[in-house]
Amino acid sequence: MREKAKILDKEAIERSIMRIAHEILEKHKGTENICLVGIRNRGVYLAQRLSDCIKKIETKEVPVGILDITLYRDDLTLIAASPIVRKTEIDFDINDKILILVDDVLYTGRTIRAALDALIDFGRPKSIQVAVLVDRGHRELPIRADYVGKNIPTSQKETVEVHLAEVDGMDEVVIVEKN
């Protein structure tokens, strides 16, 4: 693995999240019925940060849920070693809510596909949207993001790594090349 380029630094990540927060509020004319659901792992921290930004703008709390999609993956047998199943924590009723799924990178679309299956098991939301920090292209399913921090054209030989202070000690997005 060789680091090729730094795409976003701390400030750029903060601005992206703030902009997405504004876009969500603009689109839905406020916070009514909006719930955020972060996909483990890094989507959870991004969802929490989005919720904090929304609170700064509107002084209203938006609930944040946590979704683990391991049990819904279609590529379980392809994942290195045995996947770790973590807990899903959605403490609110999702029926008739506008759910915004939050993840770090949108790539093949298979994670979002699995997340949609999982959410539908919890109820019938009014609508589901997708917010990601990075969209790197190469979709394998008809899935798109509603809110994007940054579009990054990549080659499939490359990997996009999102580092967040909560887990990685620093905020940055880098492209690394696989050997």
Binding site: L78, A80, A81, K87, T88, V105, T108, R110, D121
Partner: protein, 317 residues
């Protein structure tokens, strides 16, 4: 990407597992417990997989628990009761196993009256084998659900005093519990009439007593085993009422123990022999919670053994 690894195709017992492997099963079970609280209690993780329940001994609760667990993972389940199968015609265990493998099943859940039967089967088939009780040897998923329930109630296993009361000599539940609890750092005491204490049990790092009050004293939990009066060697068994008088858990005996002592029992209970009805239905009892937790624990085990068999790489977003 994963820090803790599960690489076993089988679950045969707790003796061979590391502390980390036991903890991985318990934390995976926690996630599955959340699934069982949903309105739709089913996830697609084992869709397309087949689980065969192969029971050489009568069992309702364990078999049903495994069946529910497999179905909640979207697997297909086939139950084979050996009384009505070719085993009656003299087929050997290994032949039966190979036939099940040839049917392209993915997991065999087996209960057998011979110690070591699951391990032998596991060596002869490439599909997963989960031990649902082998002779007097081990009953790993029962111990795991006992430990899961304890952990849920008390947070941490290390440092707990857990007493196991009853027929220790003939109990696979006791053996698996002793392995699991001591690996996680609990202090284990076993309590039974002398004739039901197996020789050299102290080597398993437990304290032995035949005084029930001593077993209950300062204990955080007491796991009361079923007295298996239906087993063969009746001669070596105490008389039922005499047993209750000396070892039965009663409200009066519990009043001298820790106020919030946890009372467990793997079921089915002999009311008025192992414990009084008052205790079985009382506030200290977690017996029915054990049954609920059994589903989550068995889901975790079925999930992990299928993943453990498939080693590969490459992940996608």
């Amino acid at each position: 990407m994963s820090e803790a690894l599960w690489r076993r195709k089988d679950l045969l017992g707790l003796e061979e597992l590391s502390k980390e492997e036991i903890e991985l099963i318990l934390s995976t079970a926690e996630s599955f417990k959340e699934v069982t609280t949903r309105e739709i209690k089913k996830v697609p993780s084992l869709r397309g997989k087949t689980v065969v329940n192969l029971f050489y001994e009568p069992s309702t609760r364990t078999r049903v628990s495994f069946e529910v667990a497999a179905k909640r993972l979207s697997a297909d389940v086939i139950n084979i009761a050996t009384e009505t199968s070719s085993v009656k015609k003299g087929e050997t265990l290994i032949d039966t196993g190979k036939n099940i493998e040839a049917l392209k099943a993915d997991i065999i859940v087996m209960r057998h009256n011979c110690s070591g039967a699951a391990a032998m089967l596991a060596r002869h088939v490439s599909i997963s084998v989960v031990n649902a009780g082998d002779g007097w040897h081990e009953h790993p998923t029962q111990a795991l659900l006992d430990i899961f329930t304890l952990k849920e109630k008390l947070g941490e296993i290390a440092g707990l005093k857990v007493s196991i009361v009853g027929d220790i000599a003939h109990s696979r539940v006791a053996r698996s519990n002793i392995w699991g609890l001591t690996k996680l750092g609990a202090k284990v005491m076993v309590c039974a009439p002398k004739m039901l204490i197996p020789p050299a049990i102290e080597e398993m790092d437990v304290v032995v007593t035949d005084d029930i009050d001593e077993a209950l004293k300062d204990a955080d939990a007491v796991n009361v085993l079923r007295m298996q009066f239906e087993r063969d060697e009746k001669a070596a068994f105490p008389e039922q009422l005499a047993y209750f008088k000396e070892f039965g858990i009663t409200k009066e005996r519990l009043s001298k123990a820790k106020k919030d002592i946890i009372v467990m029992h793997p079921g089915p209970i002999n009311r008025g022999i192992e414990m009084s009805s008052e205790v079985a239905d009382g506030t200290n009892s977690v017996i029915l919670e054990q049954v609920t937790n059994g589903i989550a624990v068995r889901m975790a085990v079925l999930f992990l053994v299928t993943q453990g068999r498939e080693t590969n790489n490459e992940s996608t977003h």
